[in-house]
Each structure stands twice: as structure tokens, then as C-alpha cells.
Symmetry: D2
Subunit: 336 residues, 4 copies
Amino acid sequence: MLIVMKSMATQDQIDVVISQIEQNGFTAHVSKGDIHTVIGAVGGKTIDAREIELLDGVEKIVKITSSYKLASRTFHPENTVIKLKNCEIGGKEISMIAGPCSIESEEQMDATAAALAQYGIKILRGGAFKPRTSPYSFQGLGEEGLKIARRVADKYNMCLTSEVMEISQIPLMLDYVDIMQVGARNMQNFNLLRELGHINKPILLKRGLCSTIEEWLMSAEYIMSGGNMDVILCERGIRTFETATRNTLDISAIPVIKKLSHLPIIADPSHASGLRDKVAPLSRACIAAGADGLIIEVHNNPEKALCDGAQSLFPNQYGELSAQLKTIATAVGRIF
Amino acid sequence: MLIVMKSMATQDQIDVVISQIEQNGFTAHVSKGDIHTVIGAVGGKTIDAREIELLDGVEKIVKITSSYKLASRTFHPENTVIKLKNCEIGGKEISMIAGPCSIESEEQMDATAAALAQYGIKILRGGAFKPRTSPYSFQGLGEEGLKIARRVADKYNMCLTSEVMEISQIPLMLDYVDIMQVGARNMQNFNLLRELGHINKPILLKRGLCSTIEEWLMSAEYIMSGGNMDVILCERGIRTFETATRNTLDISAIPVIKKLSHLPIIADPSHASGLRDKVAPLSRACIAAGADGLIIEVHNNPEKALCDGAQSLFPNQYGELSAQLKTIATAVGRIF
Amino acid sequence: MLIVMKSMATQDQIDVVISQIEQNGFTAHVSKGDIHTVIGAVGGKTIDAREIELLDGVEKIVKITSSYKLASRTFHPENTVIKLKNCEIGGKEISMIAGPCSIESEEQMDATAAALAQYGIKILRGGAFKPRTSPYSFQGLGEEGLKIARRVADKYNMCLTSEVMEISQIPLMLDYVDIMQVGARNMQNFNLLRELGHINKPILLKRGLCSTIEEWLMSAEYIMSGGNMDVILCERGIRTFETATRNTLDISAIPVIKKLSHLPIIADPSHASGLRDKVAPLSRACIAAGADGLIIEVHNNPEKALCDGAQSLFPNQYGELSAQLKTIATAVGRIF
Amino acid sequence: MLIVMKSMATQDQIDVVISQIEQNGFTAHVSKGDIHTVIGAVGGKTIDAREIELLDGVEKIVKITSSYKLASRTFHPENTVIKLKNCEIGGKEISMIAGPCSIESEEQMDATAAALAQYGIKILRGGAFKPRTSPYSFQGLGEEGLKIARRVADKYNMCLTSEVMEISQIPLMLDYVDIMQVGARNMQNFNLLRELGHINKPILLKRGLCSTIEEWLMSAEYIMSGGNMDVILCERGIRTFETATRNTLDISAIPVIKKLSHLPIIADPSHASGLRDKVAPLSRACIAAGADGLIIEVHNNPEKALCDGAQSLFPNQYGELSAQLKTIATAVGRIF
């Protein structure tokens, strides 16, 4: 932490700051510039920087160290590659996750997975518990849905991912899924994150709608600090003033994360845009920008979907997109 | 729902739209303008409007009815006034809630409450479970903290409010608090909201950091649809591009809510600004804008606080603010 | 400027940074912490910090000095008080500016000003050149409008303010107005700002819709660096994700500016909210938060206004608001 | 325009609304739903919708027609292709514009253009007048710079684009450039746009930092309404809460614009990200998303650039990127 004093700060004010940081176990390094005195605080315990910021004569406080360590590339320079039974995430091969928003029935899941299998999909998605903004909307099939999805995933030799919404669902989910999904609204549900740090399955952590990249990595840190190092980050759009799209997919976050962290990063163009005809262009853009994979909604019959049909691709649309992505992957040195 | 067709939409396209909405149980009212045909869809069941939006020839969809009913002033024109044992919220009198961020010890709570009692505070605040962004920060005293806070509140004849972070904490919290607080990060934790709809204590519902006013009212609806009508809305700042303050307190939300809903609305200037010296100006502004009350962090010794001391007022600062608010209350026809 | 090196930065990388900043005329002060080496760069000429940020081994760059000097309270601790012929802005008395959005006719201006004179208004507003988003909307009366407004202002012994939209209008405007207004869209029209730095009338500088407080002060600096120190800042709402109001009035900016700068700050609740019924609550909030004044749209017949009638108060509504503000002013130690 | 009445609106209130819209020349079409009466207003002149919104009993107003016509794909279904002397923009071939931020000298321009010519660049960029946030930064070479850039462009058989900052510069610019650039800060400088509508050279219109897509198209409409139909839209990043990148490049805007408008759209990844190492991933993403081209900063010696060197590519970096884009172009059916 660096404390920048005001240009007119008195020696007394400087001394108070030094004394305060020393009381918190820091060593103070003072350097006097032309205009400002800067005090470096080294080696102490955690302190609320704002407490120093409020002292007389202080201009501002500068944090030096990032709050996350385990998620940082600084301390782990090589990419994390997460191994599943039939594929890897974060390696050279692009990882495609596809399936419907909600698990609705055996027929729906089977028809969708059969179509996806043709296009080489190795990870199936489908929600069993749905966080709906209206209390009157379809809330998901629960365990019954998980059973269906598991049977279908096994039939087509796919892994399965589904969203966990609260701590009490974890034991149940563990019986069925290969990857636990944490939704955008739960990105800072710290109690849930802490529990997920103690399981031994990968966590797909979506970015919160108004979360900064630093907060997102901090949430990954919560999980990792419990011992579970297999975190997959998923960009799914942030909220901005623009209303022409549901959210603004922050594609810049992909190269930023690649620089800051060793964790794999994928993107969810379906939820970001909310409309089927935007999914293909955004999918292509994410792979071109360096994403390790995508999670896309595909439904065997989107017009009859109980949830988010409007943003689900038809299977043949996925097929066309898949061919485009194959070409783009070669441009960025990846395998599709 | 109104469906606006493109200026060049064909009769066939119009017919497909009509057929689709009729299949969903709606009656179609078609009116042809100079440029656009508009189709009104009346009386059907819930439908994902985007499904219609994707049909050929459709320009856009317009939702007519708001998604919330119980929270809406349309169906409940008079203000909701929530009765507590020693005061009311939403009536003519301004409701002030004060106390430390976290419950730290009996001494701290007692000293703070003693000071606040002098200024007429009737509702004490204090966190027992703390949602901290870092896994290494102080996480709260838990039930021990609730016991302390309850004893102190009783001693000074105050009501008590504290934050509930997950469903499993509800039974415990019910034994100690008079008002359950839902934090900004849980505003869309729908499972939690649903459970809170079944208890018989008021809920203080903070606005999410990037939630629209409509979503906020929809979250109130979640609680109310379970039968609990005593919801207090709390504006606590939204996230914007401005970095000079921690969040941007959306004071305009106060008159907007007053128009749309009958629920009481208070504000939290401490969390919004994050710095003590901004709390007084923002508190005055909220009361001047018509808020029903404030929730403010006050600590007997902010510089030693384990959490958010930098945004906590000293008791005497609260006293000065209190005197200013008394004057402002008269300007807006309220009692302080 | 401080350069924070990565934890794993090599001595070679540190040396390259030192060499680079010394080539730009800075002196380097190196201090080694537990994890990071920090290099202070003192006394050099302007440099694009990103150039250093891109060097190998650099974690981040921290700017120490703010980019504005003349606008900063650091170098000018006392409030700036701007003297007009009949009043002051930034002193103990609250400054109220009122009038219609556009100057439409002598009758309209006279009727409006006559009503405002009763409530003690000393500064009249009215636009002669209107920046309209549609090329087909009313574009203002131009010089004819300025003549009308000047005659009316003189009749009621008021000062006049009106918006200047481009450099070529400056000489004309100088003949008629007492305060030049710079609109939100021109806040970073640097050519215009530079010219306004050479005139000897006060400038009312509105904040851009997506401008940070620092950029706003930097724009004030542009004007002041030309010699014109009489800048009045005007908060008028920023753009956020919230759509229930036209813009989000950033009332927190008022105490923030009061801390950072010595310049007077007023607010424009009419443009921020865009709706008449939000103007009074927001006006009260701004004065309660410490604003030095307000600029409010009032029209003798808002329903017939050619521009922004929906956000204009009726004269008697202004009268009621005025009485409330008088009370609030006393709460914050101001004269109304 | 549709007027949705409140569920409890009285017949009297409905009558007042009808009367008001008829006074403005509209015909009223009334349709009564289960809950709401909806009044369609057809065929009248321009009216400020808020004036109706403020009438008693009105729930909300819905605009039916978009404010832009000439820029809309509704009235011009085929893509606009802009013809320059040596290439087209908006056709099947991707258009690449490259060059330094500022024109600094003949040597710099020549060395940069020579390198770019090898990679097939047909349009050179370079600023002669620079809008700098600090009054002390390099402000550009002015006409001298334009002369240099023109000579160099001619030598390498390239077109030239440069930014026009105000009306008074138009005649001068016309002598030198092939495409006039309007910067983000001038996107709503309506006086400037109006003048540019009368010239016969294409306009490259950058999106404002906080402008919606609708406002952007409205600004294009301003130019087109004067007769100049050759507008090239340029996405360059919007301002959000994220601070890890300078701006958030809104790549979703590319498919959105392609649906709403027939105008060509390109992107500027250099200004959006502000850092060289983000330019390649974002460039690839934009082409993958369907952009018609890119404008990229390339400098023969970025480390010595007088302006924005940190975001400028080295010529060989441009070459590598170029090869990647060639592959991606094939994936989206374009020629590179």
C-alpha cells in the first residue's frame, strides 16, 4: 500500500500516518517528491485502506498487491487445464458446451443430445433448478430433471453441467453432474462459493452482471482457497446503458483474463444477447478473441421451449456455426 | 402485449403472428396505422415475448402490464405503513436505523446504542453474518453476535435489524431480530426471497448494485406473493462508470418508487459512499427527496471497527446530522 | 508517477524501466518491498504512462498528481465566489437560475420572468440555439431570441445565461449574456473551451453525460488555463443502466466536488429527470447535499412549450419549491 | 405512438388524452383490453411524448416508429457500398484502415505507409488536429500535417482519412482527405453533422462513448438528411463500470447495426482498448462478428510516438494480425 500525501501536508500529518500504519504492523518507507510525499507501507496485516485515507493530509491510497493470489498468473504462469473423463478444458482444443436452457423431458433431452452428438459435442448443459425473475414462471424439474440429463449424457458419452443455486443442493448435484455451474446472480454468494471449494468437481463460474474482472477473480479465489483449483471462468455479458441487446458481452475480458489469470475462460453468447440471431456472430467473436470454449443454448425445438427458447439455436444452426468456428480456431492456433 | 409489425410486413407475416398468439390463448386486436400494423395480444397466459419478436415481419414487442402487482401502487393506492413494537415505517415520521456494520462485542454494541439512544434512535442495526469479498476478512460473530445485539436492543428499548444471508439462517434469525435485512447481493436470490415470503416479520430489501427499479419491485413481489406484505425497500447505490465514489446513490429512485409503489423506501448512504464525510450530505439529500428513513452506520469507535469503520459516523457526528435532518423533515411535511 | 513491478520482475527489467524514465527526464527512486519493487518517477516532462506499462515486468502504473491544478482545492483552498452585477455565485447565498428551455417569444419570456421575479429570481435562463437530437425539431430563435431575453432580463433586473454551441457564436453571445453556458455534449469540445478561456464572463460548465468528475475538472482546467477563472460547475445527470429516469442525477458529485475543487457547483434537476414531477424532490436533495444553486426550467405555460415542456415547472410550482428550499437552506447554513 | 392508460383510468382521463392528441393533428384509435385501455395516435405532427405522459391516468407512452429513416434498413434493404478511388467499403471485401494516431513528420508517415503498403493497406489514417484532454499535450500539426499525409498517401496509392473537429476546418480538410472522420466526442455536435451533410465525401462517424445505438443512427440521419448518404459507422467502445480496459468494445453492436441499418460498420480496437496487446484479439473478434472493416493504429516506431504510442501496433504485428484476419474472413464469407 502506498499513501500519497497532499502537496501541502505538514510533517505532523505525515507523522500521524506513519504512526498509524506502524501500529498495524507495517514498516513505513518515506520518499519525498517535488510535490508529494509518498509513504510505502510494507509487510503489515490486513487494514481497511479507507481508514488511512480519512486521515488529515492524505491525498489518496494506492493498493499495490492484487487481492487474489491462487487465481493469479503471477504465481502460476502456466495455463490451468481441467481434465474431464472425455475431454479437457483450457488446453489446445476448444471446449464446446451445448444443450437447452432447462431440462424439460427425456424426449427433449434425448433429441437435443442426439443432434449435438453429430457435431461432436462432449459436454451437455441443462438446468434443473431455474432462477426465474417471476415467481410464476417454470421453475425447473429438480432432481427428476437431473436424472433425465444424466441418463442422456451417459447414452451419448457426454459430460454434464448444470447450475447449483444454493448450498443445500450441492450433495444432490454431486450425484449427477460433472461440472457445477454458478450463475451470474450467485457470483458473490460467498457462502456457496466457500462450500464449492471443498468438493472435487470443476466449477463453472459465471461473471456477475455488474461485476468487475477483479471481483470475478476474487470469487474464483474464494473457491480455490478451499482447495478446489478447477475453476472455469465464464463471461456472460455485463449491464450497460445500451438497451438494444439484453447485456453487453464484454469480449475484451477474454484477453484481459488470459493476461491476469491461468484459469480457462469460456463465454456464454446465448444469455448475453438473449436473441438467437446474435448468438452466431458473438460465438465467432469470442473464439477469435481467444476464448477456451463456449456454452451455447441449443434446443431440439426452440419454439416450444419452456424457457429462453428465443435465444436457443436450432440444431442445424449449431452445425453451421460449428463449421465457422472450426475455421476461426485455426486462425488462433487452436483445435476445434 | 403489443406487437408492432415492420412497415413492409406482408399480410402473411401478420397472419403468422396472429396465429401464434392465438395458439397461446390470447385474443388478437389488429389496428393498421399509416406505416405500421399493431397487433394487441389480450388475455392469454404467460409467453416469452422474444419468441414473437423473432417472427418474420415483427419490428418490436411492447409489454403493457408491469410484472409486479402486489408491489404496485396501481392496485394499492395508499402507502403501506409497517408497524413495529415501538415505531412505524412508512408513516409520517421519518424512521432512523443506526448502528455498527458488524456486531463485535457487548461493549461495542452497548456503547454505540447508549449514544444512539440519546438521539432517539428506535431501530438498531448490526451484522452477525458478513458477506465479505475476501475469504480472509472478519466474517461476523454469528449467533453469539445476535444474542449480544438482542440484549442491547432490549436494554435501550430498540428494535433490531440484521442481515440474513441464506435460507438456513432464517429460523435462527427469527429468534433475535425484528426486521430481516436482505443484502444487495441477495436481491435476486429467489429461493431466499420465497422463504422470506412465509415469515411474519418485515423484510428490508436492499437494491442490487446493478438492478433496475423494475427488477427491485419484482423481487419485492417475490416476497409478497408468499404472503408477507411488509417489505421495506432500501436504495444503497448503483454501479456506474464514476470512480470518485464507491457507488452512485440513485436518489431519483426515491420519487420514482413513491410513484410506482406503496411500499416504504429508505436509503443507505453509508454503503453507497463508503466514506464517512459523504454520509451527512447524502443523508440530508435523501430525506429532502422524500425518503421514509435512513439506515446509517454509527460506531462508538470507528477507527477500531473490524468492518467498514471508514464509513461509520462517530456518535456526535450522528447527533449533528440528526439536528439537520429535523429541519429538512419539516420542509417536506414529515416528523423527525 | 509510481511504477509497480511484478513480483517476479528481474533486475534487468527494473533497469530497463529506470533507463526509460530517465530518458524522459525523470529521476528514479527505487524501493524494494517484500513482494514488489516500486519505482517513483519524479520531476520529468509529460509521458504517456501506458508506454511504461507495456514494458516487461511492469505490473501497473500509478499516477500521483492530478491532471488539473487551477481547478484544484489543493492550490486554492478558499471557495471561489463569482460576482455578477446583482448577485454572487458560490457565496453563502444559494443561487437560483430559472426560465424556459427555449426562448420562444417576448410574451413568453416576459410572462415567465414576471412570475419568477416575484419569487426573487436574479438569473434568467433561456436557449437561443438548441442542440436537438432530431434535425426536424425546433432549433431556436438565434440572435432574435437573445435580444428578447436581454430586454426581458433588463426589465426585471436579472442576469441572463444562455448556451453557446460553437466558437463562431461567442462574439454574438458576448453582446447579450452575463453567463455563458456550455452544454453537456460540449464538455469535451476542447477548441470551444480554449476560446472561452479568453473571455471575461463566467462560464457555466455542464458535466458530460458519461464524464467522470476528474474529466469534468479537467475541462474546467482548459478554460482556466486561458485566464478565465470564473467557472461554475453544473451536475446534470449521468447515463446509467436505469431507464426509469432519463438520467441519474449524481448528487454524490456535489460533496465530492466540494472536496476536490474550490469552484461553485450547481445542479440541473430538470434535464436530469426529464419529468416535471421529479424536479422538486431532486432540487431539494441537491440543496440539502450542499449545492451552491440550481438551474431549473420554468415556463409560463409548459403545456405549450416548444421544447422540454414536460420537464418545466409551472410558476406556482416553482413558488412552492422555493419555500421548501428556504427551509432546507437553513439546515445547511446557507441563505436563500 | 401508443398511449397505455392506467388500469384505473377513468373515461374522463381517456377523453382528455384523446382530445390532446387530436389537437396535435393525430387520429386516435382506442382499444380496451382486460386491464388497460390503449390509445393509438396516428398521423400527427411531432409531439413531445412526455407531455402526454404527464396527463392524469396515463401509465406509459410507447414510441412505434424509429426516429431515423434514411439510415434504416426498413426503407433501404440492400447494404450501402461506398466507392473510393481504389476500393469499396461495405462490399464483400474487408476494408482495413491503418496508420498512426497523429501525423508527426514526413519520415514517420512515409516509413509507416511503406510498411503498411506491403500488407495491402488501401486507406491511410493520421490525425492533424488532436482533441486532447490536457491543454498541454501535443495538439497536432494542422495543415502542415495534412500536406504530409496527402503526399504520402498519393505515393503509395492510398486514400486518406483524418478527423475534422469543427465546422471551420471543413474547407481545408476537403482539399486533402478522402474520408472525413468525426470523433466520438463530436457524435452529437449537430451543427458539425449538418454541415457534413452538404459535402460530397464519405463520413466516418464514430460512436460516442455513452451513446446508444439509436442515437448513433440518429446522428447518421443528421448527415444523411443533408444529402450525403455515404456514412460509415465506427464502433470504438463504450464507457462501463469495468476499469480493466479503457472502454468496453461493444462488439454486439456490429450484428445489431447490420440488422437495423444498411450502412457499413467498422470498428476501432485501438482506441477501445488503449493497449497494444489487446488490439489483435479484438480485431479478430470484430471481423468474426461481421464488421466490414477495421481502423487500427500502426506506427513505424510506437515507442517514440507523440500520441497514443501505447496502443499502436508495430508494422510486423500488423502483418501477423493481417494473416489471421485473412483466415477469419473466409469463415464469414468475406474477402480479405
